[in-house]
Amino acid sequence: MNQPSPPPSKLPVSLVANPLLSSWLKFSAHGQVTVSPGKVEIGQGIVTALAQIAADELDVDISRVQMVRASTAVSPNEGVTSGSLSVQQSGRALRHACAEVRHIFLQLASERLGVDIDTLDVDDGTISGPGNVATSYWELADDVLLDRDATPDAKPKPVARRVLAGASVQRIDIPDKVFARPRFIHDWALPDMLHGRVLRSENARAKLVELNDERARAIADLVAVVHDGSFAGVVSETEHGAEAALQALRKGAVWTAGEPLPDESDLAAFLKAQPTETTIIDKRTAPPSAPKTRTIRRQYVRPYLAHASIAPSCAMAQWNGDRLHVWTHSQGVYLLRTDLALVLNLRAENIAVEHLEGAGCYGHNAADDVALDAVLLARAAGGRPVRVQWSRAGEMSDAPFGAAMAIEIEADLDPSGEIVDWRHSIWSNGHAARPGRAAQPALLAGYELKNPFPRMISTNPPQANGGGGDRNAVPLYDFRSWQIESHRLTTMPIRTSALRTLGAQGNVFAIESMLDEIAAARDEDPVAFRLRHLDDERAKDVICAAAKRAGWKPAKQPGIGYGIAFARYKNTGAYCAVVAEIEGDEDIRVRKLTLAVDVGEAINPDGVINQIEGGAIQATSWVLKERVRFDRQRITSTSWTEYPILRFSEVPNIEVEVIQRPEIDPVGAGEAAHGPVTAAIANAIFDALGVRVRQLPFTREHLVAAMEQAS
């Protein structure tokens, strides 16, 4: 059985960084509590989960909780909204802060009412005690000073007394979105707002050598043409005028040929031929339990993947003298501010960065890039705000991609086919080049200015933060000895940064495919094989739950296959097991995915299911269809035709079982499904067709190649 986690004896990490209670919470005399987290809504429902936690801990109705959008002007600095950490970090901090604030109110109420604090109770903000004495948060609001630091002493409620956390509360942002009330940055209009567009070459990293702006200046509504090195753009009174001026400006631009791109038909060869920085991620040694009799070696490849949000990135910026205001859908308002300050050589205090929701965000996309675009164009706007929106083609080619990976696993096997040694090597660009973390900026236009900043080469977060290319590369299985190494490229012809799961999707695909192959060679059931090599009961529980729910293993039917896979995201986050049912011949259709997940305490169980379903469908899309395409000069997958994603008619049925563990601190759900879904589909393809496909995506082309290789 799992032990309940010990009560927190120290402050949650976000409260250590931002201890001032009033930066998290404010009460009004009119019956409202304002909650100001540093994490942002990116379509994952975090704002609702945080509202649930606050309402629960304070004993107020959730309708009294007003969630404030993150802004450097008012919000605690919680870094970036990424890595499935928001419930873990912001949720814990908020729960702690609310518990302490509740106690501060009760202390004052106890003094005012003249009754012992332990006899007081709170119901929807009304504080009452024996003999019908009562007051409320709202009555006391003006007298309670929250401009004080959080202390480690506050004690959040025991699990059994939480009412909202653990319940499927409706998301607070959904009504606005179905009634078309402005919520997206794209739909925001500022007074006197102008529209901007930026000119970029199709050719990778081409330099602008000549710009004739005569035609652009002749377009109606034009306000300004901006030109600084290889950065150029237009500002117009209207969006239509900005588009027209951009087309005209394009005709007057002369570019260099740019820098060559790799050969897309052999990514593994390209990745392995580059200069790299090698790190031993983990090493475990033990005398072999039996002699090694053979070694099998397999290579798994994943392509570059696009974020491909449905909305192109958008931002607004307004200058007022040397002060700057930016509206953005960035995942990190403070981090963006840091990089803007670097590019502009301006004090960070002069810049306010405010979050507005964008379309679904799956990592470091172009949100930050377009913010700098807007800032640079707004310089020519005479103090008026400028809104910039990228084109679909720009979004698909100029935003950072998820990094391509080549992964090699070698397993030494004993005479009975058991693993005696395991070696896992990764060749990949780094998976993170986020803004705000280095001495140089990570914003696209910063590389294009006349005095350009050097292009940032992606790195990997340390293992303690879940790693990058090496994320989930260390197996959770009980192999006696292993070596895990990561070869991070030190060149980067194709720009990469954080995309949902970083390297975990590739690594889990490789590990779980290899295990399936080894189990099959032993003629052992893949579920039994995994259970035999795992110690962690929570891991075993999700595998058993998914297998049971899917009726593992259903009887064989021609053309249909079943596969199972498992991972614990980052080896420290959510547990997820998947059974995939596929149908295939030349093309693969995923019919059904059955998932079991354990996120500890599921604050909003329907929200967790929504995230897992979404992750499973997105992963299916990656696996069946997605691959950034390019020739030697430019990215060619610049539209939905050239970069297809899964359509309604192709989406599998999905069942999700959430194993609720209210006594265990919650972790995020958004990235748990991608790796296991990928491998489960691969394993199901083997079950159906008898072929191991080791190159993503599983298109007809790669299936045929795998069949040819096998025969």
């Binding site: 179905v178 794209h186 679904g360 035709t641 899964l646 359509r647 309604f648």
Partner: protein, 156 residues
């Protein structure tokens, strides 16, 4: 500047604008309607879908002149918080979105479907929504929501 006469959400309009511009550009720009969303500008994603007469159409590659004399319905005309369309109620009940950027276009495709086929099967719903892209993976919930709305409309 020539003008184009059409009906927008049931109200007659006479708009002076370049007739070669896209309907989406006019709706979002001149008319300030934020419901139809720009996604690709090439009729490939459905985020800007509106209903013209009885068909769901991408407003981004519909030239403005072509709506002359026609009935255009946007999400703003489908319903609002006070008088929600059954589809809007169903999308809330099923929590049928994640980021929701694609939702207004999907609601319009679904509304057009329910007009011509009030009792669709789940397969028919998927076919009707196949021109709409969703990146967050809310497809199954949206299909459930459309079926729920159809049922509610049938039982009145």
């Amino acid at each position: 500047m020539p003008s184009v006469r059409f009906r927008l959400n049931g109200v007659g309009k006479d708009i002076d604008a370049d007739p070669d511009r896209s309907l989406l550009d006019i709706l979002r720009g001149q008319l300030g309607m934020i419901g139809p969303h720009f996604g690709c500008g090439a009729g490939e994603c459905g985020a800007c879908n509106v209903i013209i007469d009885d068909r769901a159409v991408a407003a981004c590659d519909t030239p403005f002149w072509s709506v002359a004399g026609k009935d255009v319905t946007t999400i703003e005309g489908l319903g609002n918080a006070e008088r929600p369309h059954p589809l809007q109620r169903a999308f809330i009940a099923e929590q049928a979105l994640q980021c929701g950027y694609c939702a207004s276009g999907i609601l319009m495709s679904a509304a057009a479907l329910l007009k011509r086929n009030p009792a669709p099967t789940s397969r028919e719903v998927k076919e009707a929504l196949d021109g709409n892209l969703c990146r967050c993976g809310s497809h199954n919930r949206m299909v459930r929501a459309v079926l729920r709305a159809a049922k509610e409309m049938a039982t009145g």
